[in-house]
Symmetry: C2
Subunit: 218 residues, 2 copies
DNA sequence: TAGATTGTTAATCGATTAACAATC
DNA sequence: TAGATTGTTAATCGATTAACAATC
């Protein structure tokens, strides 16, 4: 019910800002702050205060109090619950090369509700090894092992030539969400969630902004 | 002039889609296609055809031709020029750990107009080594070496505790654009371009979509 | 009480999409 | 010619921001 509302009515833009609020609030919590005003959050994070209040109102159980602001602990708990940080899901990693190893080695994902339980690679020299404490299996076992482990999330960190095939194997195994770090557009069934981590897109936006800044310069 | 128009009038959303068009067109070019219709691009990339035409019209020198579509080679050249892919810029990398090494090792950045010329790290065991063919210098030399190399772009791949300090050093050295992979909000002067590669935000969006899909399931 | 801060309603802004005439 | 495809104008959609009354 409340859950239903959550799933439908919170925009992607808002969801994307929640992790930043979460980090900020954790920091304030560590500094011993008990309450925080939307105006303070907005200023520090370079956002609009109305936007902050609107975002928070969508996911929080308790309203802010005039003059005092929001309760830091409650807000953190609300975001934890909304984003599933308190409810870790298993994921598999396909591709145990440089980027894949870096992702597996980054311990922080557990704080974001993600637990990598297995890795896959097609390179025989990598199979049987361990990256970031995760065992690397033969890529040919992807579908069957994913099914056996009942995993719903796959992280794709393979070279672009291998990406579509790896994605198909994940879906064949029952994965429903793919976090794609390969620079390719994947063709997948409609009911599969895909999030492309498009570095080229980010870089394009950054370098255009840089060009603008430099042009204003002198 | 044309340049001025480019810097001001093309939206971030459009810029973000251009790399995907570029990849797609390169693929078609490799397959020997000479022309392509916006309708075909839209279908394959799951976009709206009007949006594709609007995006392309903003950056292309030549219009598409009714019935035939757009010239593939020209479109690629237009995007190359617009995004600066034909005009490689130097960048430095701060943080030569797992993610930093993976970024340095990914040779593909040169295709996107980026050339990593030096890396920095605070860990003595990494200083003096090489990651992805790039020499790792002492992080304390960041500002001075960046200035000497006259680099304008910095890639930040350090642990979050070190991120603000590393960013400050980059700016002190004259960097004007920071590609930030650390999960922190950086406080920087206004005239510095920052692009946060916020993995937590991506993951949040993906897992919410997953939750929605699973809830529709049965 | 006065003032800081809230939540909500309305206005604005920007991006996407629909409709359609032009044309190769 | 007929039809596929274009570019542009207008409508829609969604997200951000401004205005303001409510309240601790």
């Amino acid at each position: 019910m409340g859950n239903n509302k959550e799933l439908t009515s919170v925009s992607k833009a808002t969801i994307g800002r929640l992790p930043a609020y979460h980090r900020y609030l954790k920091e304030k919590q560590a500094q011993g702050e008990r309450t925080i005003a939307s105006t303070a959050i907005a200023e520090d994070l370079h956002l609009n205060a109305v936007q902050v209040r609107k975002d928070l109102s969508l996911i929080s159980t308790t309203a802010g109090k005039p003059k005092r602001g929001f309760d830091v602990d409650e807000l953190i708990a609300d975001i934890d619950r909304f984003l599933g940080y308190d409810n870790v899901s298993d994921a598999v990693l396909v591709g145990a090369g440089g980027l894949g190893s870096a992702l597996a080695g980054y311990g922080g994902f557990k704080n974001y509700g993600l637990n990598i339980v297995a890795a896959f690679d097609a390179d025989p020299s990598r199979i049987g090894r361990t990256v970031g404490g995760v065992h690397v299996f033969d890529a040919r076992e992807t579908a069957s092992l994913v099914r056996r482990l009942n995993v719903r999330i796959g992280i794709l960190a393979v070279p672009k030539e291998a990406a579509q095939g790896a994605a198909d194997a994940l879906v064949a195994g029952g994965v429903r969400a793919i976090w794609n770090f390969a620079p390719v557009h994947l063709s997948l069934p409609e009911n599969i969630a895909v999030k492309n981590e498009d570095m080229a897109a980010s870089l394009a936006i950054l370098s255009k902004r840089l060009a603008e800044i430099l042009s204003h310069e002198k």
